[in-house]
């Protein structure tokens, strides 16, 4: 109990208080402390990244071992990892090599596999968005109507064709489409985002305080 519970709580408390107070102390000794510990933590982040990558690999490995339906796809994941690692080591982790800056094998995998795959996965959203917009964007009440109007104006002011249409249809109005969009972004949108930001800021501070005082212990993992 003492080693598993109180020691980590004490460590979090000391670290939290010291580095909160450090902010107010301009003395070089205090700056040196921050620099040193911060440098350590960059190294620690590297170690913890291994943890994340390993747990992902572990879950896919478990699927392959147990032969759950679709385990073949988990094998594809491993194929991808090992293949990339192999070319990565061969290319010493660089995209380009030599004076001529020719593309390495890793650079090839990056350019022709990773970039198109990731890009395409996310570009699917353009299609989903179009259909969701069509099916759900209805001005069924004041709130939805306002949301819709703002979205409509922002989209119109966002693209050259929209600006062109505005000039043709609403050209007699003093503001241009991009100015209307700019105002929406800078005034009502900004105000709401700032209100949210103030709330989020208070929430972040409260959470940090709870970590320091040992009330919030989710970082300890299960059973913490």
């Amino acid at each position: 109990m003492f080693l598993r519970q109180y020691v980590p709580m004490a460590i979090a408390f000391v670290m939290g208080v010291v580095f909160a107070v450090q902010y107010y102390v301009p003395h070089p000794a205090s700056e040196e402390l921050l620099t040193t510990v911060n440098d350590w933590l960059i190294v620690v982040s590297g170690f913890s990244m291994v943890l994340g990558l390993a747990s992902l690999m572990g879950s896919h490995w478990a699927k392959v071992r147990r032969g759950v339906p679709g385990w073949g796809y988990s094998l594809v994941v491993f194929l991808g990892i090992l293949g990339t690692l192999a070319v990565g080591i061969a290319s010493k982790g660089k995209m380009f090599a030599g004076e001529e800056l020719t593309l390495t094998a890793l650079g090839w995998v990056y350019d022709n596999m990773l970039v198109p795959l990731q890009g395409t996965v996310f570009s699917l959203l353009a299609f989903f968005m179009a259909s969701a917009t069509f099916r759900t964007f209805r001005a069924r009440n004041l709130e939805a109507g306002l949301l819709l109007t703002a979205a409509f104006l922002v989209m119109l002011g966002h693209v050259p064709l929209g600006e062109y249409i505005w000039d043709k249809v609403l050209g007699f109005l003093p503001p241009k489409a991009d100015q209307v969009m700019g105002w929406i972004m800078n005034v009502p949108n900004m105000a709401a985002k700032r209100g949210i930001l103030l709330g989020v800021g208070l929430g972040m501070i409260a959470t940090s305080l709870k970590i320091i005082f040992g009330i919030e212990r989710a970082y300890m993992g299960e059973g913490g």
């Binding site: 190294v43 796809y73 990339t84 395409t120 299609f127 966002h158 949108n189």
Partner: protein, 239 residues
Amino acid sequence: MSPELLGAWVAAGLTLAIFSFLYKDNPFFKFGEHLYIGISVGYSITLLVFNFMIPKWWTPLFREGRMSLLVPTALGLLIWTRFFPRFSWLSRWAFAFVVGFGAGIAIPRTISNFIFRQVESTAVPLVSRGQQGVSFGWGDFSNFLIAFGVLSVLTYFFFSVEHKGPIRPLARAGVLFLMVSFGASFGYTVMARVSLLFGRMYDLVEYSSRGYGYATLVLLGLMVAVFLAQALSKKREGG
């Protein structure tokens, strides 16, 4: 086949495999998606080794003998005890160190940047003084709207009192400001998604040229043929 040409075929094939999801969830898509996960993990490990482990940890610690690196090494090893359930509680010490530090540095900086700076630029004069004396112009109106908006959104997220009496219209105004901002976000998001679509379309169009052996068109044809054959065989089975 030159690496460039092969690259075009691979890139076009993978792009189409992912796009095939728009028709339905299918093995091409699943293959592409899992390959993506694998490659990105493999790439991350490669960079972790070559840009971090070797130059910033191994070389300074074991070649140059920078002993101060023993502390983070010990912390890192403690984190790795998560791999061994019997000792995994030791990782709490390291996590407490990291999380405690993070909480400590976050508090004053959040106060300064998320609270003070935001409050300062909201509590601004709502009139301006010019040559002709004090006036209330469009910019002042916007400033008023900003202050009112921030105020009403804060009121909306206030949970200690019922939204009754004078608080009710204020909270209601807060919702309306939120709606405008969600609408603006939506309008912007459309642009982001379309940008990605443009990126992929651009490449697909390029790869369908003669120089690349009509890669896109050939692969697209093949894929459509597979789906057609599948649909036909299903029909035959069913009929």
